[in-house]
């Protein structure tokens, strides 16, 4: 798939990957063997009929291909961009055994974009079942909530989505940067849900503006899905972490993506435009933060990670993009202190690490090398070391059973300890991927449908 050159793209927020042309998409689709027993399909967390949509590309019936995607996935143009296909469908492709698998993700993206480029009345709106008379509330408009809402609407239920921020999309809007997932794509996909009858209420914090109990007892909802996301950013607890210039990745990315700080002062929200930026972490969020810092004009961006590149949880593609754009990797380093002057960051003191025995995650655990501290000069530090559960949740429903870490306890169908209340996505599993959250939202929607119809 064509990409913009690293030097050019690192200077703006436009999308990095350009997507296939029609010819390229057809050529790639032709590589598909149309296996009798398609091993790619079970690899997809929402079981998209991959063989069939690729077949439609080969036949040139793109609208039919879009319809196949939308049967299973409300947001194909999003998933085609951010799903880790290399460890899901593509790894299961028969061609992967001998060489390159079919680029399923890129084909999904191409079809998703084909649909978005159509005029509204020509776009594929999934068929909606006759009205069931039930009303469902969805808490959170991120991937889990949107997938759940789309499926509930398809099944004929009236759906209202409550979003705490001023714009819907959750992590798709505040977290994943424009250069990886253009906000216009997110908006168009959400527009399709509203075309299906889904109502989205922004500025509504469940746990503050409404409790879950009020949604059911006073607002007349028959069932509720909670997909409120992972929540609070984790800090490391090292000295100097509250100096000016230290951000959580959530804050840094929210300022830039949701609040458009890159347009400051036209947009009112500022963000520090660091000259030398250290990003701590090795996941996709760390890559997004590092690449965003570059685009804000940083001269040097360091990625500080306590293990090696092999253990990084980020997608290979993102690691490759970050390196190509000039992010400098400092592996086997762990921050021990952030130092500053007059309240502002001047450096990050890191300790060198070695890999020891495997830990609970199966990865070799990093061990400190005594006396190996060194300082990285920087004016901005971004912590991308994960999130924990948001305490607002306990206020949203005091009777809802939570795990010891504050996440919602839910069974495989998303059913919680409260009748009619379902949950899925990061608020159940802790931080995971967009598609896993979408899968959970969809499974919950079906379970909610069964719950509602059995109750009738």
């Amino acid at each position: 798939m064509p990409e913009r050159a690293a030097r050019e793209r690192a200077a703006d927020f436009d999308e990095v990957a350009l997507g296939y042309t029609e010819e390229q998409a057809r050529a790639e689709a032709m590589r598909c063997l149309q296996c009798k027993n398609a091993t790619c399909i079970p690899g997809c967390p929402v079981n998209i009929d991959i063989k069939s949509f690729i077949g439609h590309i080969i036949d040139g019936d793109y609208a039919a291909g879009v319809a196949v995607l939308k049967e299973r996935n409300a947001l194909p143009a999003v998933c085609g961009r951010v799903c880790p296909q290399e460890e899901q469908c593509e790894i299961a492709c028969v061609l992967a055994k001998k060489g390159e698998p079919v680029a399923i993700g890129r084909l999904e993206r191409w079809l998703g974009d084909f649909d978005l480029a159509c005029e509204l009345e020509k776009r594929c709106v999934p068929e909606v079942a006759p009205a069931s008379g039930f009303r469902c509330a969805v808490v959170g408009s991120g991937p889990a909530g949107l997938a759940c809402a789309g499926e509930l609407a398809r099944l004929g239920h009236s759906v209202t989505v409550f979003e705490s921020l001023h714009a819907p999309g959750g992590v798709l809007t505040y977290g994943i940067p424009e250069f990886r997932l253009p906000k216009a794509i997110v908006e168009s996909e959400i527009l399709m849900l509203t075309e299906m009858g889904v109502e989205i209420v922004t500025d509504a914090v469940i746990g503050a503006t409404y409790t879950i109990d009020e949604l059911m007892a006073e607002e007349g909802f028959d069932a509720v899905f909670v997909g409120s996301g992972a929540g609070l950013p984790i800090f490391m607890g090292v000295p100097g972490e509250n100096l000016n210039g230290v951000y959580s990745a959530n804050e840094f990315l929210t300022r830039v993506n949701l609040m458009r700080a890159y347009e400051f002062p036209h947009a009112d929200t500022p963000v520090a435009r660091g000259r030398k930026v250290a990003v701590v972490g090795g996941g996709n969020v760390a890559m997004d933060a590092a690449r965003t810092a570059l685009r804000l004009g940083a001269e040097e961006v360091f990625l500080v990670y306590r293990r090696t590149e092999d253990e990084m949880p980020a997608r290979r593609e993102e690691v490759h993009h970050a390196r190509e754009e000039g992010v400098e990797f400092k592996m086997l380093c762990s921050p021990s202190e952030i130092v500053g002057k007059d309240g502002f960051v001047t450096g990050l003191v890191a300790t060198r690490m070695e890999l020891g025995e495997p830990d609970a995650s199966g990865r070799r655990a990093p061990v400190c090398v005594l006396g190996s501290e060194f300082e990285i000069e920087c004016d901005t530090v971004i912590m991308a070391v994960g999130t924990r559960a948001n305490p607002l949740l306990a206020k949203a429903a005091p009777d809802l059973e939570l795990s010891s870490r504050g996440y919602i306890l839910a069974d495989d169908d998303g059913a919680t300890s409260l009748p009619g209340v379902f949950a899925g996505g990061d608020i159940v599993t802790g931080a995971a991927t967009v598609i896993q959250a979408m899968g959970a939202g969809k499974i919950s929607a079906r379970a909610m449908d069964r719950y509602l119809r059995e109750r009738r």
């Binding site: 705490s164 921020l165 001023h166 505040y174 922004t202 500025d203 509504a204 914090v205 503050a208 503006t209 409404y210 929540g231 609070l232 950013p233 800090f235 607890g237 972490e241 509250n242 000016n244 210039g245 951000y247 959580s248 959530n250 804050e251 929210t254 300022r255 609040m259 458009r260 347009e263 400051f264 002062p265 036209h266 947009a267 009112d268 929200t269 500022p270 520090a272 309240g343 502002f344 948001n390 305490p391 607002l392």
Partner: protein
């Protein structure tokens, strides 16, 4: 969009504003705050509720025009609308079983002190309010406080143009020293809250402060509002805004409040050049 239903100018740069927000109005408790975004380009700024009516469906807040966001907000009139109002956020102020309490409201902090003192008095506390301002012109809500069932209302101004001349810490010290209060609550500029906490510390009077760190989402997601309390990092938005004044690191708070001082000047200067009010 949330319609502006009330506006009153309290001094040259201080405004009281009300917006229609029935959902929020029925849930607010004293000490909680809202996040407001003036328009599509706006920042999300935290403002503490100064009053509300569940029956009439409105909430009010008081703000001082200090930067671009509050400058833009000050230009709105009744009938205009703000893009977003979110809330009520934060843990409500503890108002039960306080006994004898001194509530200090400094500057625009008086706006928050008003519903707090009212709620404490309603809960049966014996409330002394110490209201402070630089001068009589900047003193706000004096009539509203006077109408509350208070044990005493003490007004302090730096120049003596209203009430007594001096700082709010003088009467606070008098009350703490004489053993006349069981609890103190200070709401105002960080430096004032710091000195209030220093004043009561010597007399071991438990003191709550209502902090006003920078926020972005206001719901715990970003951590911009982190404050050090008893050596631990807490989030102002979900753990606060009220904290033990004797345990707060005020130097850090004040430093963090200034992080965007330069950007704020730049944004306001740019906005003011194109603004008809020439302020």
């Amino acid at each position: 969009m949330f319609e502006v239903v009330h506006k009153r100018q309290l001094s040259d740069a201080v405004f009281e504003m009300g917006v229609a927000a029935p959902r929020i109005a029925r849930k607010v408790a004293a000490g909680q705050f809202l996040m407001l975004r003036v328009d599509e380009d706006g920042e999300r700024i935290p403002l503490t509720f100064s009053d509300w009516s569940a029956e009439e469906g409105w909430v009010r807040f008081i703000f001082m025009r200090v930067g671009k966001s509050t400058h833009k907000l000050s230009h709105l009139e009744v009938g205009d609308a703000v893009a977003d109002v979110v809330g009520p956020l934060g843990v409500p102020t503890h108002t039960e079983d306080l006994g004898r309490v001194a509530v200090v409201g400094g500057g625009v902090g008086a706006a928050v002190a008003y519903p707090v003192a009212r709620a404490m008095a309603e809960a049966g506390a014996e409330v002394t309010v110490i209201l402070g301002a630089r001068n009589a012109e900047l003193l706000i809500l004096a009539d509203e406080f006077a109408a509350l069932p208070l044990a005493e209302l003490i007004v302090m101004t730096d120049d003596g143009s209203a009430g007594e001349k001096g700082l709010v810490t003088a009467p606070l010290k008098r009350l703490a020293e004489s053993g006349s209060i069981d609890h103190a609550m200070a709401i105002g500029p960080a430096i004032m809250m710091k000195f209030c906490a220093e004043t009561t510390r010597a007399f071991r009077v438990p003191t709550t402060v209502s902090l006003n760190p920078i926020m972005v989402d206001g719901t715990g997601m970003c951590g911009a509002c982190r404050v050090s309390v008893a050596g631990e990092t807490r989030f102002g938005c979900v753990d606060g805004p009220d904290f033990d004044g004797h345990a707060v690191d005020f130097e850090e708070l004040m430093s963090r409040q200034r992080v965007y001082a330069e950007e704020e000047r730049e944004a306001d200067a740019e906005y003011s050049r194109g603004c008809a009010c020439h302020l």
